[in-house]
Symmetry: C2
DNA sequence: CGAGTGGTTGATATCTTTCAACCCACGTGG
DNA sequence: CCACGTGGGTTGAAAGATATCAACCACTCG
């Protein structure tokens, strides 16, 4: 059935952009080669020159960089409906890795097809460009998080952001959401050591504002989490706003 | 004379993108309203809804965010030929501030004019989109810098990056470049305290790899600076690369 | 049952911040 | 012409945050 792969993408794009029926159809008719991929699979690598971009149909993925001395910094987490390496359309050499966090369904779309799409459908072009700009906005906030907030606030901010983004997809329930991430990965997201992440989480649990349970996070006191993390949702640019 | 304002922009864009004579002409004929602005002037503010974007014709500027508790994080430094708030074309509400570091000549370009330009000149559209993607690439490296590198390396990385970007404009000489920035601003760039920036700089000076003199930095041992900062220029995407 | 992964703990070392001065160059007003 | 105020840089001491190291525990999987 055409459109099942692009469902989350279309949902996301139409929430903020004015796309007409033909725009949507053009997206749904993109030739997509989908693949089921195991967790922790690095499917795009620093230095690669991809000829296709990759839509996350289902599951979580992340972007990361390795420093020459072997440290890892995770740059962003990605959820269904996002195209984390859309940039490779214009930047031909990858400057970071893309890895699945969980088992994922990925949809690979040839750059040629995307180029054709943005040539024929200016609305879609604008919407995709916009997506890459939101991406950058999230990076900026990530810089603030890592540069200026203490560990507890960093963690809180990240959880608040994830909650907000997942909420838009309808993947949250009463402040809870599924996110199968290890403390090692959290540490690499936040620029902290694993041990410190562990202690920070414990503190948040003791304060009763966060609970974790296997693969899901519960924000028990969402307002508190957002306040502690200084979370202000404007930077996500989720509203039409014009 | 048409084109004097856009000189640095055209220089930058044509270095990596294939623009024909008409593309260039279209850029040069953009209606630009230029203005001389004092140092430390915040000319775009968090929350604004700009109807124009701003080209740096001459001088330095930076983007920054303030946290609710009054801390500042500088997100990027900008040099002539860049349009730091090009994003406002698609993201209608600003999520950060834009401030001049030095006295600047700024060129304001109406969004309407830019929209017309990208509609008529797809090559230019692609080039501008690409610029915003390079912007994001620099943010990513900035995240790594702040998240994973100790103070000395952070400083070194930033200096190496600035040198590289200024070199492309021909504004470096034997590892030296002009950058009138205070230690307070450096601290906000690097996510450090002023005191620590001061000590870090002293250390770099004592090691003989960096010298500072009023408004100019000298990278006495450029290789050493790049190694210490783990600087790898690919992420700047300065080469055509296709 | 043993190995491996992810989580937890305590002790200690290191890095970075904070605080509180102080210095210096510069520009301004008396 | 000089006193003074100011911004930027520098310093030392102490406090605080985070990292590191080295175990140990719990659970899952083959």
């Amino acid at each position: 059935m055409p459109g099942t792969l692009t469902a989350a993408l279309v949902q996301k794009l139409t929430k903020v952009n004015r796309l007409d029926q033909n725009d949507i159809l053009a997206i749904q008719q993109l030739p997509i080669h989908s693949k089921r991929v195991a967790a922790q699979h690095r499917f795009v690598r620093d230095g690669d020159r991809p000829s296709e971009s990759c839509l996350i149909v289902d599951g979580f993925a992340f972007r990361s960089k390795l420093t020459p001395d072997g440290q890892r910094q995770i740059l962003s987490l990605h959820i269904p409906g996002e195209i984390p390496d859309l940039q490779s359309l214009h930047l031909h050499v990858m400057d970071h890795d893309l890895t699945t966090l969980t088992e994922c369904t990925l949809g690979f779309i040839k750059h040629d097809a995307l180029r054709e799409l943005i040539k024929m459908r200016p609305n879609v072009a604008a919407a995709l460009w916009r997506e890459t700009l939101v991406d950058a906005a999230i990076f900026r906030e990530w810089i603030v998080n890592v540069g200026r907030r203490p560990a507890r606030a960093r963690m809180a901010h990240m959880l608040a952001e994830l909650h907000e983004r997942l909420a838009l997809l309808g993947r949250t329930l009463n402040g809870s959401f599924e996110l199968p991430i290890t403390q090692i990965e959290l540490a690499d997201c936040l620029g902290l050591s694993v041990v410190h992440v562990n202690r920070t989480l414990q503190q948040l649990r003791q304060e009763g504002i966060v609970a974790t349970e296997r693969r899901t996070f519960h924000l028990l006191d969402q307002a508190k989490v957002e306040e502690l993390g200084q979370f202000e949702r404007i930077y996500l640019h989720q509203r039409p706003s014009i």
